[in-house]
Symmetry: C2
Subunit: 258 residues, 2 copies
DNA sequence: CGTTCCCTTGACACCGATCAACTCTGGTGG
DNA sequence: CCACCAGAGTTGATCGGTGTCAAGGGAACG
């Protein structure tokens, strides 16, 4: 079931037969019809490639399209006055970058590609019309938005009240759960193309301290992190250590209602 | 324009002639018709009072109504394993407590009244029907949801990358801007019914350190905090000190489009 | 007039930041 | 094939901000 895809695998354009992670995610939450799924695949037809370290969308601009991650990793971030950076979300294949900008106008933060990325560009009007006459798909899109919000809350808790090693452990637990949902976890390991500096910017620490924190997690026998891939040796132990409760991701919540 | 209302003022039931803060908020963002506004006022007709320190909604329950703050303050919070608490949002008059629960199911966090509060109870079905045939109101509700999300991101930045006194200052700037939007700021001061412990739980510090932090802000001549009310002596100075950019609140964004 | 929160203050411990140097790795070009 | 280089990871020494613990003060309230 879980399909491992390294960044170097050839990936057909979304909609041309390749696995569509957005469909996988929405389909896990709601009971989508084939017509619903095809409609989702269709809007992902126009894909652009973005080089690593390049902004997909910059702060202050008003994008004329909605962007959807098709392949690769990206991060929402905000620069602070003193020059430091805070990442507020990791964007994985199947995630929306800026569903909100249709309503809110200018971006109040930037989105940067962390790896070479493929991003689908969807015209606003197409995105607005998508859920019309498709109530279950509408619910699924709402679900995705609200889970994103729940993830933001969990980050606040993580950064505000947990110690350094717990923070990093909690982040790994979240990423494992989210990647699993879109089929990007293979057994107990998955690609984790994040430098220690990126992790630091996500959990509110410095790169040096993230390094020491990772050593601790390794010494505890919880993880192996090497070559851009993370192996979780003891998922229960890691979750326990981090105080991770997957409930906030609301997996399968919608499905259970039907 | 700005109306100061202390918690002890008599407040008529929403819809019975009193100022409706939700209408004020949504009306500031979108161009609502009188019919739109009346519809919003109508759904706030059933109000219940909650005592301070009592949960309005507890973690794990599935509320059978949508809750809207009518009067008083509340906080979203999550308890952490070690017994500490993290507040992830302050809920002010006009804010939705749990618009998401219709879709997501169980609450993944609790909401507690920080003062004696009045909360409107709206049946799910009534809430779902509200925006039907009222496109501008639908946009306004989306706007409110997305601004809440933007506030969550700004909290992550605040807690993750700012020093203690900047964090508290930034929180004060946010509350000032949000309260002003619903007409609860009078000149340069407003009610701030928060103990130092509550502030600490919101910005990821300890009560003792919040105390020292407040002293610093006072010494800098930026604020006066006394008797449950905050006076901002130098709003530009405070915003500068905190690195506060009100842009993320997207005030009047929708209105400007029309 | 006592009780109960809440605020305040001081001494001290410790976690994580900072600064600086060194290592390791992978990629590039001679 | 090797030399070089840039980026990332690692380590050590030290600093400083925030947490912790404990005691005292003050205001609201019954």
């Amino acid at each position: 079931m879980a399909i491992h895809r390294s960044p170097s695998d050839p990936c057909p354009l979304a909609g041309a037969g390749g696995r569509n992670h957005l469909v996988a995610k929405l389909g896990a939450a709601a009971d989508l019809s084939d017509e619903d799924k095809n409609a989702v695949v269709d809007i992902c037809s126009q894909v652009r490639e973005i080089a690593a370290r390049h902004d997909i969308i910059s702060e202050g601009v008003r994008p004329d399209h909605v962007h959807i991650m098709v392949e690769g990793w990206a991060a929402r971030y905000k620069m602070v006055d003193d020059g430091s950076r805070q990442i507020t979300a990791f964007l994985l294949p199947g995630d929306f970058c800026d569903l909100h900008v249709t309503i809110l106008g200018d971006m109040d933060h930037g989105i940067v590609a962390l790896t070479p990325a493929k991003v689908a560009f969807v015209p606003h009007q197409v995105m607005q019309d998508l859920p019309l006459g498709r109530p279950e798909l509408l619910r699924a899109l709402w679900w995705a938005t609200l889970v994103d919000e729940a993830v933001l809350r969990s980050w606040i808790v993580n950064i505000g009240r947990r110690k350094s090693s717990e923070r990093v452990a909690h982040l790994f637990c979240e990423l494992q759960a989210r990647l699993k949902l879109v089929g990007l976890v293979s057994g107990d390991h998955f690609d984790l193309p994040l430098t220690q500096e990126i992790i630091a910017d996500a959990v509110g620490l410095t790169p040096v301290h993230v390094n020491r924190t990772l050593q601790k997690l390794r010494e505890l026998g919880l993880i192996v992190l090497r070559g851009g891939a993370l192996t979780i040796l003891d998922i229960d132990g890691l979750r326990d250590f981090a105080g991770f409760d997957p409930n906030y991701l609301h997996r399968g919540r919608l499905a259970r209602k039907h």
